[in-house]
């Protein structure tokens, strides 16, 4: 007889995601991913000026503000066939990269590392052995005895006080935790250091975007940054130098710490390269445009069906016709009225709440499909698509990751092993290293272009009478994001956002096909079903962000069951 376990919610940032699994013989036999809250924010946009839409979409989510702003202006530009000046492309690309560097570092250290790192083992670590281990895998100069000692002392003080604070809910001592005390200390020390570097990445967003958390410099047709290399009130040489310095520090942290830590942790958990594969259809859109028209990109896009790497399809542009035509949303198992999948331009959001019923409707998330199939999105999809296409930068860092994991763990790693829970972490580190290199490239492109005397940052949008439609895409930290807009006589007639976590947290569709989270959990072994750490590991590897909604402080202090076993 299978036991049902409900985990509600699962994401460490912002709630709303609920996972139900059936457990048979200590392994997951069935799974449901659901979202517990309806947003419907898109309806607020109807009737508004398309030029203002990005200000509103930027408020969809407190974590992913920048990405929704960018996809929005791109959707309007696509509808108007409006080109974007080179400087604006480079400035936007730098903002997107800096945001992603921040996001990936935060994801690993603040949201996922503690699924693998047992904090309460840290007091047992030998400082000398930790220092020796660290020196053997990375040139990072802050891998010093002093830093390790300070981090260990901090944990000892917390443990001694009995007030675990932020660590209150960890599954410490769980049988699935397998790192040595020294590796635990190494990772924890970097968790503390990561705070400094994630902040530096955000500073870059702030310098270019005017402000964080909500950038101010976007405009349909370009950016609002004034460029003048000699004026302190504009984007000048001092600010560009400051950006260069900040980026170089963040990139060093990514290459010498984050990338290495992911490989080191992965090398200690080889079985997790066999767990968590799930849906092996992968989707990514091209991003980081290199020209005004958006005809060449630094990040490749395309799709792979049924894990057939050799049969990869390529998207030539960020709004490729194949992508544009292929997307639909199914509501057979979602709390909405509707009897057939609809294209986002025709999307309807008409709620039909029935309560959770695993055989019928059970989620507020619609089921996005590409050519009728569920798709996994995110860094893994992007890395696989790039690898399959022979994209040089992707291959460079994928090979580096594979070699590093193999060297530390003494086992053979193959590209196919990336299709797993740990593979998703590895792919995120690979993408982050790629973005680090691209950050410096795009800063150089911007400076070179300005040096030629091109100060142009904006083309003026002109709205035709009648109806036009467009899609704005962005390969966001969590995967393919698309905003779909229909404009009539200069006003928004319809607006739909198909976000990465909708693809990955999708419920079943009319044919019964599982979404990626659901499929990835099947057959996962659970050492202690009452502490389903293994389920968390796989879900967190996708980097869920269901939030995009309310943010109020729950002062009632009620303890809500995190895990319930029926």
């Amino acid at each position: 007889m299978a036991n049902r376990i409900t985990i509600d919610p699962i994401t460490r940032i912002e709630g709303h995601l609920r996972i139900d699994v059936e457990v048979d013989n200590n392994a997951v036999s069935n799974a449901w991913a659901s979202c517990t809250m309806w947003r419907g924010i898109e309806n607020i946009l109807k009737g508004r000026d398309p030029r203002d839409a990005w200000l509103f979409t930027q408020r969809f989510c407190g974590v992913c503000t920048t990405v929704h702003a960018m996809a929005s202006v791109r959707s309007v530009e696509d509808a108007l066939k409006l080109q974007v000046p080179l400087n604006a492309q480079y400035i936007r690309n730098l903002i997107l990269i800096a945001h992603a560097l921040h996001d990936h570092i935060v994801h690993f250290y603040q949201l996922s590392a503690l699924d693998w790192v047992d904090v309460l083992q840290i007091p047992k670590a030998d400082i000398g052995a930790t220092t020796k281990l660290a020196e053997s895998i990375s040139p990072w100069t802050r891998n010093s005895r002093e830093e390790f000692q300070a981090a260990q002392d901090r944990v000892k003080a917390v443990a001694a006080s009995g007030q675990l604070g932020i660590f209150m809910n960890g599954y410490w001592g769980h049988p699935a935790m397998r790192l040595s005390p020294e590796v635990n200390l190494l990772a924890f020390t970097h968790y503390v250091q990561a705070l400094e570097y994630q902040r530096k990445a955000l500073q870059v967003v702030g310098i270019l975007g005017g402000k964080t958390p909500h950038i101010q410099n976007l405009t349909v047709g370009g950016v609002a940054n004034a460029i003048d290399l000699d004026s302190t009130s504009a984007l000048d040489m001092d600010k560009l130098e400051m950006i260069r310095e900040l980026l170089s520090e963040v990139v060093r942290f990514v290459n010498e710490v984050y990338f290495i830590d992911v490989c080191a942790v992965a090398s200690m958990y080889p079985d997790w390269f066999k767990i968590g594969k799930g849906v092996n259809n992968y989707l990514a859109v091209p991003d980081l445009p290199l020209d005004s028209a958006g005809s060449s990109y630094d990040l490749p896009g395309g799709y792979i069906m049924n894990g057939n790497i050799g049969g990869v399809h390529t998207f030539k542009t960020a709004a490729d016709k194949d992508f544009r035509d292929g997307v639909s949303e199914d509501v057979a198992h979602a709390y909405y009225h509707g009897d057939k999948p609809l294209h986002p331009y025709k999307g309807v959001t008409d709620p039909d709440f029935t309560g959770w019923n695993g055989d019928q409707k059970y989620s507020w998330v619609k089921a996005p499909r590409f050519n009728g199939a569920p798709m996994q999105v995110g860094p893994l999809a992007q890395v696989l698509v790039g690898f399959a296409q022979g994209h040089a930068l992707t291959k460079k860092y994928a090979v580096k990751a594979i070699d590093t994991i193999g060297a530390v763990g003494h086992f053979q790693v193959t590209p196919g092993m990336l299709e797993s829970t740990l593979g998703r972490h590895g792919a995120r580190a690979i993408r982050c290293a790629m973005l680090g290199e691209l950050a410096q490239k795009h800063l150089g492109l911007l400076i070179d272009n300005v040096a030629k005397g091109d100060y142009s940052v904006h083309n003026v949008p002109v709205f035709p009478s009648g109806e036009v439609e467009g899609v704005g895409t962005h390969e966001a930290p969590r995967g393919t994001l698309s905003h779909w807009i229909v404009v009539k006589d200069g006003k928004i007639k319809n607006y739909q956002a198909v976000v990465p976590s909708t693809w990955n947290a999708s419920p079943r569709d009319a044919s019964g096909a599982h979404g990626p989270y659901e499929a990835s959990l099947l057959h996962t072994p659970l050492a202690k079903p009452e502490e389903p750490l293994e389920v968390l590991r796989t879900i967190h590897s996708f980097d869920p962000c269901m939030a995009c909604a309310c943010h109020t402080f729950d002062a009632s202090g009620r303890q809500i069951a995190k895990v319930k076993i029926l």
Binding site: R18, I166, N169, T552, D554, G557
Partner: protein, 182 residues
């Protein structure tokens, strides 16, 4: 110079959840503060709130709360009150990133010494760009609490003779026509 953050938290697209950003803009438009005081619309931050917390010696946050109180009730929480909560994410749609961020900042030894959350029990969190009348009626009291905390901290503030533009771009026309009495 003391570094003080006055931050409004909330989603301006979800009714009364927008009270924090709204009040942040009211304060910036109607008041001047001594150097070192920063008034920010923080939106709906997650753990990046750690950065905002750690950069300041005192933090005053304005947010809607769920507290089993009547809508419009203004409630105050000090640092210890906030840190008493478990850091787990909750089932209800309201993220406790504030709790997580403060607990993390404390662990890393970078938390501000003074934290005050000026909360207000919301009435409606449905998608909308307006505050309810109930919440608006309590805004004067909410702002008075912020000022009294500044006094306690010894931070100078005064009313502007000429308010600057509110910059509440999300509000409906109806809302802008009946701004809060200040």
């Amino acid at each position: 110079m003391k570094r003080i953050l006055i931050g409004g938290i909330g989603n301006v697209l979800l009714g009364d959840d927008g009270v924090g950003p709204y009040v942040a803009r009211l304060l910036a438009a109607h008041y001047e503060f001594e150097e070192g005081v920063e008034v920010i619309d923080l939106g709906t931050p997650a753990l990046d709130l750690i950065d905002q917390l750690s950069a300041n010696e005192a933090v005053i946050l304005i947010d809607s709360v769920h507290a089993d109180a009547d809508p419009g009730t203004v409630l105050l929480y000090r640092k210890a009150d906030i840190m008493r909560h478990a850091p787990s994410v909750r089932m209800d749609p309201h993220s406790p990133a504030l709790v997580d961020a403060l607990l993390s900042a404390e662990l890393f030894g970078v938390a501000p010494a003074d934290v005050l959350l000026v909360g207000i029990q919301g009435e409606s969190f449905e998608p909308s760009c307006s505050l309810t009348k109930t919440v608006k009626a309590s805004l004067d009291q909410l702002i008075a609490e912020v000022m009294s905390e500044l006094d306690r901290l010894g931070v100078k503030h005064c009313r502007r003779n000429q308010p600057i533009d509110l910059g509440i771009w999300w509000a409906s026309e109806e809302q802008l026509e009946s701004p809060v009495a200040l």
